[in-house]
C-alpha cells in the first residue's frame, strides 16, 4: 500500500496547513528524522532508553478468566506497564532524542488527560531540558493529580483559558508558543496528529507496540491474531499496534472511538464515525464541526479521547476499509473497566477500556478460540476520581 502518495499525505489526508513561520521548522524536523531513522547510533540509543527507562518490551498477557468467559483467546498488550503508565512514553523518548539532535533546549507540549504531559515532563527531566506543558483549564480541574505530577517533575504547566479550555485549545496554544519561540523550542506533539512529519514520526515511534505484539503472539499462539482492537482519540496507540499488521490481510483491525453519551445525543468524540473531512492543527482529517467548519465541543468520559480530530492516517485507513471504526459509550467503557479489574486484576485507563468494551460487545458473534489482541494503552490510576464519582463514591 502506497500510503504516502504525495509527501506528507495519506491518500488525500494529512498535509501541512500551518502558518508560514513554521514551515522551515517542519522541514528541519523532517530532515533530521529521516536521517535519524537510518542512523544506527540513534536507533541504538532509542532502544536503550525504551528498554532500561520505559521498561520495554511490555508483556502480552493471556487474559485467563475473560478468555474462558468470552469463549475466545483474549490477549492484552500491557502498555499500561510502561514507565509513567501509558504508551505515551514510546513517543516522547523518540521525539526528545530528536530534539537533542536538533540542539533544542526547550520543549513545549499539549496535554489532555495529562498522560502525554507527564511522559514529556518525565523525559525532559531525565535529559535536563526545560519543559512547558499547555493544558486546558477544564482538564486541569479534571486531572489534578497529573498536573501535580508534571509540576513535581519540574515542568511548567500553563493553563489554557481560550475556546473550550480542553485538549484542542491546549494544542492551539502549544502551536502558538512554538511559532513564537521556534528557534530554540521543540514542539513535542502527543499523537499521530498535526502537520507532516508529525503523524509519520509518532506512528513510527509507537510502532514498537505492534512489532512486539507480532513477535509475542507468534511465540505464544503460533499464529497471527484474528483481530486487534485499540481505542482511538488522536490515534497513536492504535496506529502503533495496527501498523505492523496493515499488510496482513487476515488480521482484522478495529479502532474504537469515544461514543460519549451516544452518537444520537450529540455529546461524543467520534470524529471518524460521525465527522467529515476538514482542517485542524495543521492537517486534513476527519473532524467534528458545524456545517460551516467551526470546530465543535466534544465529550468523553475519558479525557484522553476528548478531541474533535483524529490522525490523518486513520482517515485514510477508514476510507480504504482496512480498519473498521466503532464507537463505545461512556457507560460501556466504565463497565469494561470494572470487569477487567474484577476478572483479571488489571485496572485499565478509561481510554483503553473503550477497546475492551468493543470486544465484549462483539465476542459472542466470533468463532470459538478466535485470537483477539486488545491494546491496554494505559493504566487506570488517573481515572479513579472519575470512576468513583460515576459510581457515587466521593474520594
Amino acid at each position: 500500500m502506497n500510503a504516502l502518495a504525495k509527501r506528507g499525505y495519506y491518500g488525500t489526508y494529512g498535509g501541512q496547513y500551518v502558518p508560514e513561520t513554521l514551515m522551515r521548522a517542519l522541514d528541519e524536523l523532517e530532515e533530521t528524522y529521516l536521517s535519524c531513522r537510518q542512523d544506527l547510533d540513534f536507533l541504538k540509543e532509542l532502544h536503550y532508553y525504551l528498554e532500561v527507562y520505559a521498561g520495554r518490551p511490555t508483556p502480552l498477557y493471556r487474559a485467563q478468566r475473560l478468555s474462558e468467559e468470552l469463549g475466545v483467546e483474549l490477549y492484552l498488550k500491557r502498555e499500561d506497564l510502561n514507565h509513567t503508565g501509558a504508551h505515551k512514553i514510546n513517543n516522547t523518548l523518540g521525539q526528545i532524542l530528536l530534539a537533542r539532535r536538533m540542539g533544542k533546549q526547550r520543549i513545549v507540549a499539549e496535554t489532555g488527560a495529562g498522560q502525554h504531559g507527564v511522559a514529556t515532563a518525565t523525559t525532559a527531566a531525565m535529559f535536563g531540558m526545560e519543559c512547558v506543558v499547555y493544558m486546558g483549564e477544564e482538564d486541569i480541574r479534571r486531572q489534578a493529580l497529573n498536573v501535580f505530577r508534571m509540576r513535581l517533575l519540574g515542568a511548567e504547566v500553563k493553563p489554557v483559558r481560550s475556546g473550550s479550555r480542553t485538549l484542542k485549545d491546549a494544542t492551539n496554544e502549544a502551536i502558538r508558543d512554538w511559532v513564537t519561540n521556534v528557534e530554540d523550542t521543540y514542539y513535542l506533539i502527543g499523537s499521530v496528529v498535526g502537520p507532516h512529519p508529525y503523524p509519520m514520526l509518532v506512528r513510527d515511534f509507537q510502532s514498537v507496540i505492534g512489532q512486539e505484539t507480532r513477535k509475542q503472539i507468534l511465540e505464544t499462539a503460533g499464529r497471527l491474531p484474528d483481530r486487534i482492537y485499540a481505542c482511538v482519540g488522536g490515534g497513536s496507540n492504535a496506529i502503533g499496534i495496527f501498523h505492523p499488521f496493515v499488510q496482513d490481510r487476515t488480521v482484522k483491525l478495529v479502532g474504537v472511538e469515544a461514543g460519549g453519551e451516544g452518537l444520537a445525543a450529540g455529546r461524543h468524540s467520534a470524529s471518524l464515525s460521525a465527522g467529515r473531512p476538514g482542517i485542524l492543527h495543521g492537517a486534513l482529517s476527519y473532524l467534528l464541526m458545524d456545517e460551516e467548519g467551526q470546530i465543535l465541543p466534544t465529550h468523553s468520559i475519558s479525557a484522553g479521547l476528548d478531541y474533535p480530530g483524529v490522525g490523518p492516517e486513520h482517515a485514510f485507513l477508514k476510507d480504504s476499509g482496512r480498519v473498521r471504526y466503532e464507537t463505545v459509550t461512556d457507560t460501556e467503557a466504565l463497565d469494561a473497566l470494572v470487569l477487567l479489574s474484577r476478572k483479571e486484576g488489571i485496572i485499565p485507563a478509561l481510554e483503553s477500556a473503550h477497546a475492551l468494551a468493543c470486544v465484549l460487545r462483539e465476542a459472542a458473534g466470533l468463532p470459538e478460540k478466535s485470537l483477539i489482541v486488545v491494546n491496554i494503552s494505559g493504566r487506570g490510576d488517573k481515572d479513579m476520581k472519575t470512576v468513583a464519582a460515576e459510581t457515587g463514591v466521593e474520594l
Binding site: G15, Q16, Y17, V18, P19, E20, T21, L22, M23, R24, A25, S162, G163, K168, D169, N172, I175, R176, V179, T180, N181, V182, E183, G278, I279, L280, H281, G282, L284, L287, M289, E291, E292, G293, Q294, I295
Partner: protein, 267 residues
Amino acid sequence: MKNKVAENFQEIKERGGTALIPFIMAGDPDLAATFTILPYLEKGGADLIELGVPFSDPLADGPVIQEAAQRALAKGFRLKTFLRVLAKNRGLVSIPIVLLVYYNLIYQYGPERFLAEAAEAGVNGLIIPDLPPEEAGGLRVPAEKNGVALNMLVAPTSSPQRIQTAAALTTGFIYLVSVRGVTGERPALPPGLPELAGRVKELTGRPVAVGFGISQPAQARQISSFADGVIVGSALVKKLAANACNSPVVAGEEGGAFLRGFREAMV
C-alpha cells in the same frame, strides 16, 4: 483579469504613498456594528480593509483577535450570512476589502463556490494564515477567474526559495509577518525588519505590506519608509471593543481617529 488589490497598490505607489490597512473582525460584536464601523475606517485614511472571518481555532492569532472571534461566534456569526450582508452593504466603502480566513472555512464552503460567492459579495482579496504555498495551488485558478487577489504570507523564517514560491502565487500583495509569533501589539519593531522587507521586495517584485505587532503611529512611519503597506490589527480591535457593543458609532469615530493618527504619521 486584473484585481482591485493590485490596482490599488499600483495607484498608491504611483503617488509615492504607503497603504494603510486596518484589520477588524467581522461580526465583532455583531454584523450591524461591523458595517457601522467600516465607513469610519475609510474616512480615517484606510486604503484597503482587512476583514477577519471568525474561526473557533485561530492558531496564528494572539489573545485580542482570538477574543474578538469568540465574541462574534458567541453572537452566532455565520459566514454565509456575512457574505449576503456584505453584498448588500458593499457600497458603504469604496476601497478594496480583503478577507482573512482560516482554510477550513473555505474548504467546507468548497473553494470554487467560496471564491465565486465572495467575489459576488465584493471581496477583492484573501489572506489565509494557515495555508502555505504547498497547499494553496488549488486556489489559484478559481481566484484568478473571479478576480480575487491571493495575498500570501512570508515570515522571517522563510527561505529565499520559499519567498519566491509565495510570490508566484501572489496576485495582490505579500503579507510580511514582521516577527516570529502570533498577532498582537509589540512595543518595538524587530531589528532587521527594513532589511527583511527589502529582501522580500527584491525577491518577489510584489508590493509588501507589513503586519503583526504594529500598534503605534511611529512604527507605521518607520515601516512606510521601507514597505508598501502597514497593517494595524490588534491595537485597533482593542480600541473598537471598548465601545462597539453599546455604541458602534462612537467606536467607529474613535477607530477612525485612531487610524488618522497612523495616516498622518506615515510618509
